[in-house]
């Protein structure tokens, strides 16, 4: 991370410094309460809004910060070192913003909306899951019911993270009442356009502050609020790669936090008997190498994605099967790595890592990290890659 900061541009450094300051002074202070009470990290989100970071990726000309995807990755990792729930909410919001910036700028309505996101720091939640479809991103049951220039939508979602706290919702739905399950659009409902009935509670093992209960959304809005591009295109070119990159960055932050505590423990042991290598020191060296490999896999794919996007001759490669397979591979490998790394940190810290109230505790990191392989279940991703590898030639 220190190396990444040295090569960053002055703008990146300012953004990073801002996030680090907020993480240290606000996010860290409230993370125990957010986790313990399973409540929305309101203080952290207020501080991020105050620093205008909810529009960090919105172009400067529209009042945003104009940052890069690499900057968002850095911000997610830093936040997750202190509170994984805050970092995941920040990541999910940014995924929505990146989709709108990449696919909405040809629409006057969405240009106006992005200006409002920048001006009033609106928080956007995602509504992609659905009763009857589970976590299948690329199929919907609900459909857009058009009536002249307006549409109506009812969606019964199994999970809407921070739906109650969000200003606006970005929702997948079938393009019309007679459309196939995979013929989807992505649409935006603003706070005044919809009613959300929360279904159930969110009392989970980890990621407790994301408030990911189910919900029934009922809305009416203008057809201009439907993104012009088919959702299949938005998913392949932006939503899936950016989700897996930002989620993986959050998991890197969780892993890094646990390794940081393990390192502090080993240093404390070493100080007790200078000249004698603490037995856990080798395990620390081992897990440190694994953390570096995990970070490298995130930054390699982020660089590839940004290179392909910025080269018009190559941007089509993003929607090729081979790139989708690599993006999926990042998700499964990073989600497995986070649990492995945190568990190794636990073994290093021993009982002090297992206790909730010790400065070397990695209990929360372990609980939060376990969500990684379930957020779009790894088996679903392996199934998609297994299918792709039946026709892909280059390995």
């Amino acid at each position: 991370m220190a190396q990444a900061a040295e090569t960053a541009s002055p703008v990146d450094r300012a953004l990073r410094a801002q996030v680090e300051e907020i993480a240290r002074t606000v996010v860290a202070r409230h993370s125990d309460a957010v986790d313990g009470e399973a409540r929305f990290p309101e203080e952290a989100m207020a501080a991020l809004k105050q620093a205008r970071l909810l529009s960090a990726y919105v172009p400067v000309a529209m009042g945003g910060g104009g940052c890069s995807l690499g900057d968002l990755i850095g911000a997610c990792e830093v936040l997750a070192e202190h509170c994984a729930s805050t970092a995941m909410i920040f990541a999910m919001h940014q995924i929505e913003v990146v989709c709108l910036v990449h696919h909405g700028l040809s629409s006057p309505w969405f240009c106006g909306y992005l200006r409002r996101v920048a001006a009033s720091q609106r928080l956007i939640a995602s509504v992609t899951s659905e009763v009857g479809m589970g976590g299948s991103l690329r199929t919907s049951v609900c459909a857009v019911e058009r009536q002249h220039e307006r549409f109506r939508l009812i969606k019964d979602a199994t999970t809407i993270s921070y739906g109650v706290q969000a200003d606006d919702l970005l929702i997948t739905a079938r393009a019309a009442m007679d459309a196939a399950p995979g013929d989807q659009v992505l649409l935006l409902l603003q706070r005044d356009d919809f009613q959300l009935k929360r279904l159930g509670r969110w009392d989970a093992l980890g990621m407790r502050g994301t408030c990911s209960a189910g919900g029934l959304v009922e809305g009416v809005a203008s057809v201009e609020q439907i993104l012009p591009a088919p959702f299949g295109e938005i998913a392949a070119e932006t939503m899936v790669p950016v989700s897996h990159l930002l989620w993986s960055a959050v998991w890197c932050g969780i892993a890094s936090s646990a390794v940081g505590r393990a390192a502090a423990w080993v240093r404390a042991e070493a100080r007790k008997k200078p000249g004698t290598m603490p037995p856990a020191a080798l395990r620390l060296a081992e897990v440190h190498a694994e953390l570096q490999a995990m970070r490298a896999s995130v930054s390699a794919l982020a660089s590839e994605y940004q290179t392909l996007r910025s080269d018009p001759a190559r941007s089509g490669e993003i929607s090729a099967m081979a790139f989708a397979v690599r993006v999926n591979n990042l998700k499964v490998s990073a989600s497995r790595a986070v649990s492995r790394i945190v568990e190794a940190a636990l073994q290093i810290c021993g009982i002090h890592g297992y206790k909730n109230d010790s400065p070397f505790s990695v209990a929360r990191q372990l609980r939060d990290g376990l969500s990684a392989s379930l957020m779009v279940a790894n088996d679903r991703i392996y199934a998609a890659n297994a299918s792709a590898l039946l026709v892909q030639k280059e390995i």
Partner: protein
């Protein structure tokens, strides 16, 4: 060639409408073909026409319609000739 493509898409594409109602330029994804079904279409095309789609052709747009598939097959055949 178009008949063979139609027969393969009809058998493996899992469309929500009968293949007879699909026009050459209709979007097969909008007609219900999932990405998993598209892989089965690719496998059946490779077997039937005895060729392999290179990775650069394994993308959504190449398999989005009967005519797009036909164009891809023609391109591969002209390269092989």
């Amino acid at each position: 060639m178009e008949d063979a493509i139609r027969s393969i898409v009809g058998k493996h594409g899992k469309l929500s409408v009968p293949i007879e109602e699909i026009r050459p330029d209709d979007d097969l994804y909008r007609a219900g073909m999932t990405s998993h079904a598209s892989v089965n279409v690719m496998l059946a095309l490779e077997a039937h026409f005895d060729l392999e789609f290179p990775d650069r052709m394994l993308r959504r747009s190449v398999f989005e319609s009967i005519s797009a598939i036909q164009a891809a097959l023609n391109e591969l055949r002209s390269m092989a000739a």
